[in-house]
């Protein structure tokens, strides 16, 4: 290359090889995470061939031995400059009013290589600008350079071709079908990878200029995938989040929830009602004469200590719930507060929507990469696109490769369904029996209605589990988790070589479990005598067996049995630690305001056990403190000094006491993390394609560097190995007792959706607008039987409640199942959760067409 010898693996792309060798070849359409298409022709270089040298696109050309390439010859330069001039010919050059101005590859290229003056004197192409192609994305067609990055992303990566090229030649434009706007949950990625200002995000429009932005690299805590991202702010306002390309995790992509939930952090001016989930809690509150009033930290801590001290006098009198959205350090600090200060084992980060945490840890673990490399993926989980969106992207990309198979235990509609080699419908309450039928020879029970051929094919694909990764999660919030737990245990026993990626969904649920915010587990995955989980604590509170509860976050809005929870809290002494307002505060005696995402330092652990840093970008509002500080001060008020005055103290303590790599990950804030309990070294960062990362330092390597603040100078400690939990330690999983089915009824499935009623969505108006109204989804044949079609009305009776819902036809719902979205509200404001029977193995509902 340019007269120098360069080493490369055969088949590598010339553009990548050149970049490694220090030669940057200009480009627009090439994106390192998508198949090259070689259309913009910006990357033309001279390649010697049998018939002399020709111009070839470096992004498409694969290298081979002895290839002779010139990237800087007059011919190559002229071709590149020619392409740039052509791109600019019809470009509006409205950089001063363009969101992309200052971080625009086209602008950068033009400034470095472009002509000073235009030779184009003709009338430019004109379009109406900008037009909304979806709720979150605007398109300015005049600025588009037809690189097809966005349309390829939609088709190739997201698999939901909601936008495509329309027209031909120089009239090509990116377009959705007018009747079907661009509502993909991944739409923001197209804005990020657009190399010009053609696609802009509605929430970011005119919000800032890139040179005013400051950024840190961090980890998203909206779900358990833990996408790496850069958080940008202008002054003390968060302005934008962009995906960072992490090789083992998110490949640069984000879902729109993680990307656009900034208002929920920034809060809303003028909202001071602490019960409003859109409000931030900015000062300590205590209940006085029945009302919550602002107070000082001193008084609030004293009141909390008073309440909790009284309760801890009684055996089993106090417990802690919540904390799956905190950092590892906070979770660890709270776990110590619970165990060492409050003296309780009744600790549970999950709000009754997860799986037995000990079984989660005991299943042989797999990383996302393992799942993507697996010969066979078996899914027994909700729709990953709704629950863990970027995991869906990764799995989709992997399953499209030849020789990969997906065996789907289809509990409901899933975006992965289209890729399944074998799909076996599973009704609520049946998962463990279906798994038994898959693994055992002999006839399957007739009531499971298994297709023999599918069962046979699935069994053959699973083999002894070699090369199989099971992606497992809570499949139905109206079903006893024991059903899935039993199924998973059976799979682990029968397929000893299979590994499991447990896809629990809350932001740092895995980290919370590891840190000991779970019944039966002490920090660092140490088994302990069982305590009460959340439903058990709520029951104990209702019965008076437990007096007080320390709530981390919003309990009421996150449990299935909201009336039950409210009744429990009504009787109890309640201390709430939270950053957001919400219904739980109606029952609080003391509220301690906490910092939330993008305001705190620490580490989080994703679903595969990978520990990465979260880094604050803005200061928490008002008097809000980081959780670690709250935990330490509360402990002090209760008479114990935990010696954790900072996040670093907590991380160091955690790492040295348990072997959990919290401190190491914290210190290495820009690394791609360490998988807890796995000996593998942290993954080295790779240089990023500047085009894949528009940002204030777009042409540099992406990293945290100096912004890491004072943590950077500390050294990692030598830690003992992390404890390991095995299934053998736990004994056999109990077999749930499934009640007989009512032939005329339906089994209820309640499944979470991405745009839900949680604070991240309700607090961010652009996302709140996307929440769909409550609806009952049924299999087409069931709807036909009821004589209904999409839009029809259905009266549903369950758990003693009656709710009228409109129906939707959905072939992904198994026959005999009625599905609703967790937390959805009807037009009259009723919550569908009420249909679920808490504590039952499965909920059966009766329906009546309206």
């Amino acid at each position: 290359m340019n007269g120098r010898a360069v080493e490369a693996a055969p088949g590598e792309l010339l553009i990548d090889v050149a970049e490694r060798a220090g030669t940057y070849i200009p480009r627009f359409c090439y994106h390192p995470r998508m198949e090259p298409v070689g259309v913009c022709r910006m990357c033309l270089v001279e390649v010697e061939g049998p018939r002399g040298s020709t111009l070839q696109p470096a992004c498409y050309q694969r290298v081979n031995d002895g290839m002779v390439v010139t990237t800087d010859s007059p011919k190559a330069k002229k071709a590149q400059e020619g392409v740039l001039e052509f791109l600019l010919a019809n470009h509006p050059l409205d950089c001063p009013v363009c969101d992309k101005g200052g971080e625009c590859p086209l602008q950068d290229q033009t400034l470095t290589h472009g002509p000073g003056e235009t030779r184009f004197v003709e009338e430019k192409r004109h379009f109406v600008k900008p037009i909304a192609i979806g709720p979150l994305v605007l398109l300015d067609r005049e600025r588009c350079i037809q690189c097809a990055r966005c349309t390829r992303f939609a088709a190739e990566v997201a698999g939901d071709t909601e936008i495509a090229f329309a027209g031909r030649g120089d009239l090509i434009e990116v377009a959705p079908s007018p009747e079907h706007p661009f509502t993909s949950v991944f739409s923001g990625n197209t804005v990020q990878i657009c190399p010009v200002g053609a696609l802009t995000a509605t929430p970011y429009r005119f919000a800032a200029r890139p040179w005013d932005l400051d950024q840190v690299e961090s980890t998203c805590t909206q779900c358990a995938v833990g996408c790496r991202l850069a958080v940008q702010s202008s002054g003390d306002r968060l302005t934008r989040v962009v995906g960072v390309d992490s090789d083992p995790v998110n490949h640069g992509w984000l879902c729109d929830k993680g990307r656009f939930t900034l208002d929920a952090v920034d809060g809303h001016e003028g909202l001071s009602d602490p019960l409003d989930p859109r409000a931030r809690v900015t000062s300590p509150l205590v209940r006085r004469d029945g009302a919550l009033v602002e107070t000082t930290w001193g008084e609030a801590l004293a009141r909390a200590a008073e309440v909790l001290t009284a309760a801890r006098e009684v055996a089993g009198g106090v417990g802690l719930v919540g904390g799956a959205a905190l950092t590892n350090e906070s979770a660890y600090a709270w776990a110590r507060v619970a165990r060492e200060v409050l003296g309780t084992e009744h600790v549970d980060a999950q709000y009754g929507d997860g799986l037995d945490p000990r079984r989660v840890l005991a299943l042989p673990g797999a990383t996302i990469d393992d799942a993507c490399a697996a010969r066979v993926v078996l899914t027994l989980c909700g729709d990953p696109r709704e629950e863990l969106p970027v995991l869906f992207l990764r799995l989709r990309g992997a399953l499209l490769r030849p020789g990969r198979d997906l065996v789907e235990l289809a509990v409901g509609p899933s975006a992965l369904h289209a890729l399944a080699t074998v799909s076996i419908p599973v009704r609520p309450g049946d998962a463990h029996r279906v798994v038994d039928a898959l693994l055992d020879e002999g006839r399957a029970p007739a009531d499971l209605a298994l297709d023999d051929d599918a069962r046979e094919r699935a069994r053959r694909l699973l083999g002894d589990g070699e090369g199989v990764v099971v992606v497992a999660g809570r499949t139905n919030l109206a079903e006893d988790p024991a059903v899935v737990e039993r199924a998973l245990t059976r799979l682990a026993e029968a397929l000893p070589r299979a590994r499991f990626l447990v896809a629990l969904r809350r932001g740092n649920v895995r980290g919370a479990i590891d840190a000991g915010l779970a019944p039966g587990l002490r920090p660092g995955r140490v088994l302990a005598a069982g305590g009460r989980d959340t439903p058990a604590q709520l029951a104990a509170l209702r019965e008076g067996a437990q007096r007080a509860v320390l709530v981390l976050g919003d309990l009421v809005g996150n449990v299935l049995d909201r009336p039950g929870a409210e009744a429990a809290l009504e009787r109890a002494d309640v201390v709430v630690v939270t950053g957001h307002g919400g219904a739980t505060l109606a029952h609080a005696d003391v509220v301690l305001p906490a910092a939330v995402q993008h305001e705190r330092t620490g580490t989080v652990t994703n679903l595969e056990g990978r520990v990465t840093a979260v880094v604050p970008k803005v200061v928490a509002p008002g008097a809000a403190w980081p959780d670690v500080a709250i935990a330490a001060e509360l402990a002090r008020a209760l008479g114990t000094d935990l010696a954790m005055d900072s996040v670093v103290d907590a991380a160091r303590d955690y790492e040295s006491a348990t072997g959990y790599p919290a401190l190491s990950a914290l210190l290495d804030a820009t690394s791609e993390g360490r998988v807890a309990g796995s000996p593998s070294a942290p993954v080295a960062r790779r240089p990023l394609d500047p085009m894949a990362f528009p940002g204030i330092r777009s042409a540099e390597w992406v990293g945290l560097g100096e912004s890491a603040g004072n943590v950077a100078e500390l050294a990692a400690t030598a830690a003992p190995p992390l404890a390991a939990v095995t299934l053998a330690d736990l004994g056999p999983a109990p077999v749930p007792e499934v009640p007989g089915r009512d032939a005329y009824g339906f089994a209820l499935r309640i499944a979470p959706r991405l745009y839900d009623h949680g604070v991240a969505v309700t607090g961010s108006p652009p996302l709140a607008a996307l929440v769909s109204p409550a609806a009952a989804r049924l299999h087409p044949s069931d709807l036909d039987r009821l004589g209904l079609d999409t839009g029809g009305r259905l009266l549903v009776r369950g758990a003693g409640r009656e709710i009228e819902l409109s129906v939707e036809r959905d072939a992904g719902v198994p026959r005999g199942v009625l599905e609703v979205a967790f937390g959805a509200l009807t037009d009259t404001g009723e919550g569908v959760n009420a249909l679920g029977d808490p504590g039952a193995v499965l909920t059966q509902v009766k329906v009546e067409a309206r």
Partner: protein, 205 residues
């Protein structure tokens, strides 16, 4: 519910079955939508997406690549006048200007009565009869303004309907059976044919 009429829906399914992959029937299906709706209607797009296993955005994007597909309603008769090189030399531009005056409609638009849409076309491969004029993709070979006017009059009175059907180039294309043969059959046939040929040629030789 199918948006296509029952008979067209059946033809659509036959078209899909002709190809190894359903998407291949895309262009033919879009012609069919035009045959029914006169243009590529939104409902038609949804149905083609369903038939081909694609999305509406994809169907619309594909349709819009091809000049013969109209994404907006057009007149009952689409009149095309070619002005490409051979027709240019034969007065195509002048004939197009004449047509525009005569129909009282700008190039690219539709007459007020909804009867005619006038288009300037690229070469229609009938340059022996330049300048070339088509109505609903039937060559009418009227190369002079006078002949053009007479033709328009006849069309208006419905006297050319036997040779100029409504939209949909495939209106009169009918296939007798011969639907797609599965791969397995083809593989088996190939093996059998090879053996038979060997025997036959051996016997002959």
């Amino acid at each position: 519910m199918s948006h296509l009429r029952v008979d067209l829906r059946q033809r659509a399914e036959e078209l899909v079955a002709l190809y190894p992959r359903p998407r291949s029937a895309m262009l033919a299906l879009l012609h069919l939508i035009q045959e029914q709706d006169g243009y590529v209607s939104p409902e038609g797009i949804d149905e083609v997406a369903e038939l081909t296993g694609t999305t509406p955005a994809d169907v619309r994007g594909t349709a819009s690549f091809y000049d013969m597909f109209h994404l907006e309603p057009v007149g009952r008769y689409v009149v095309g006048v070619c002005t490409n090189i051979a027709c240019l030399f034969a007065g195509g531009e002048e004939l197009l200007a004449h047509a525009s005056r005569r129909l009282d409609c700008a190039v690219g638009s539709t007459t007020d009565d909804g009867l005619f849409t006038l288009e300037e076309t690229e070469c229609l491969a009938d340059c022996g009869h330049a300048p070339c004029v088509t109505v609903n993709h039937r060559y009418v070979r009227t190369t002079t303004p006078e002949a053009f006017d007479a033709m328009i009059e006849e069309v208006r009175q419905g006297r050319r309907d036997h040779e100029i059907p409504d939209h949909g180039t495939l209106v009169r294309v009918r296939r007798n059976g011969g639907l797609r043969v599965p791969d397995e059959v083809i593989v088996a046939e190939r093996a059998a044919a090879k053996a038979a040929r060997a025997r036959r040629l051996e016997g002959a030789g």
